[in-house]
Amino acid sequence: MPSDHVSFEQIGPFRYRIRRSGRSDMRTDGIMFLNEALAKKLEVDESPKQVANVATLPGIVGNSLAMPDMHWGYGFPIGGVAAFDVNEGVISPGGVGYDINCGVSLTRTAFHLNEVKPKLAQLVNRFFERIPTGVGSHGALKVSKSDFEQVIVNGANWAVKQGLIPEADRLHMEDEGCLDGADPDAVSDRARERGFDQIGTLGAGNHFVELQVVEQIFDEKTAAAFGLFLGQICIMVHSGSRGFGYQVCTEYLPVMDKAANKYGISLPDRQLACAPVGSNEGKRYFAAMKCAANYAWVNRLVMKHHAAKVMVEVMQASEERCGIRLVYDVCHNIAKIEEHLVDGKLRRVCVHRKGATRSLPADHPLVPEAYRHVGQPVLIPGDMGRASYVLVGAETALAESFGSAPHGAGRLMSRHQGLKLMRGDDVRAKLAEQGIIVQARSKATLAEEQPDVYKDVEEVVKVAAGAGLAKPVARLKPLGAIKG
């Protein structure tokens, strides 16, 4: 694709700026957290232009931001963060994405690698049998219509009531696994139809369930607070709100498109369609988005529940012996009303994180009590061949990125390039040589999701740490993965 060049300049360590003076419609600067290597990769990427586009939206507070894993998305860049004043600013479905509350959970176990290694293949195979994967996957959990309404209104609270997770797990989730103000009346029957039998299903694309081992610890005190130790077996789940969230976003985009016209908002890209936060259109979308966010949390919890059951069965150990506890669950496609200090003033803003993880430091009131002395866990999954990272929120993130950090490695190549690079069977064999067992519904998915199509997550983590967005706590190596 031809690139509309947007120029940017380095303004300090790990910080690049797109000047607002470069375009007449920008209301603020764009700031991208990068190093030289990551900045170079943007030469053939449209994402800087998207950072500039977001900077044109009304009521933007501070800068239009992009995290180190930024890449070309639709509307917002992937890795984009922007905050809008609740009175003068906007809310945009394009700043959240179709997969509302796509996110990551990390579950720890009491097992050491040595105990699990002989049963690794069995565990991965059983995960694959138990957790529905692939396009249109369904049937992991049967719920009644009234239960479904409870899921979308009460999120993780519903899962606790059903006995799917202990209360302690709920307290280890962003927003304790439920956004208040979810309004089922704002959600269509079509969205319900698409989401009804997809709770507890993985989906396809870059979503995964991985068995991982803690292979390096960078911060002993924080790792101990998160319950992590060297050689420990963990389970990471990456998924979102499935067809339910896609339908919510699809239906509200035209509504917001009309609203933008109605309120005289000029858009550089119609995918940035938006409405004032306080308008009827804005409030209604937000209420529907919250339903999808609550759905996504339950979706990940049900998968975690199934994975825990498999651990108990395969390891032939009691639940207590397995020691399965949620470390944390983060969302990385979301909009939220938050308070942030901007230029010395406390502002109420609607923060959009499109492919970005919240990152809160120690002593922040929104960090779970058990972690408040160290900070919020920041989960950054990598690719299925290299590593994923646990970081902890940092002060600089609050000061510069509305408490945000990267959400993953970030794609480097298209899916088509992945298919040309290596066949699915060869990807599976290559990973097996490294001791990583992979089960996937589709061989094409394996090719499209092979490690080399992603940037090295280590590079992203280095920049996040260097820029002060989050501090590394532990590195987790994949042992096995299931994919769609």
Binding site: G73, V135, G203, D269, S414
Partner: protein
């Protein structure tokens, strides 16, 4: 149809998602090609039988919103109703000034898990980089899908 390309639909490189360009002698032909090209990326259309028909009517204030809505409605047919279009038998739009509707008759069949293997989870057709233009005496519709 080849799984990646067809004579009427071209896939362009995009780092995360799928970008299509569909062509036809006029707008309606390009849209019909875009429709089947889109379905083909999810399920090879050769595996879909023309067993029954479904009607589809889409309203929209302008050509872009109508086209995006039409393609998203197809995705809803596939992912929500689990019904697979194989061919666009009829596709018309109102010629009156005040009318803003697209009407289609689709031929296809319900999903049969034994025969229909889904390839991509296409979440939606987006407005990003969307374009309709005349090129080399053809109408071209370009759209980006979120995967």
């Amino acid at each position: 149809m080849n799984s990646q390309q067809s004579p009427f639909v071209t896939l362009l490189e995009h780092s995360g998602d799928l970008m299509f360009q569909a062509r036809g002698a006029n707008y309606l032909e390009a849209l019909a090609n875009a429709s089947i090209g889109l379905v083909h990326q999810i399920i090879p259309v050769d595996s879909i039988r023309e067993a029954e028909e479904r009607e589809l009517t889409i309203a929209g204030d302008d050509e872009t919103s109508r086209t995006v809505a039409f393609l998203n409605e197809l995705l809803y047919f596939v992912n929500g109703r689990l019904w697979l279009p194989r061919r666009v038998r009829t596709l018309t739009q109102c010629s009156k000034k005040s009318c803003s509707e697209l009407y289609a008759v689709l031929a296809g069949e319900p999903v049969d898990p034994a025969r229909h293997i889904f390839k991509y989870d296409i979440k939606a057709v987006t407005y990003h980089e969307f374009a309709i233009r005349r090129e080399d005496n053809l109408t071209m519709i370009q759209f980006l899908c979120d995967l």
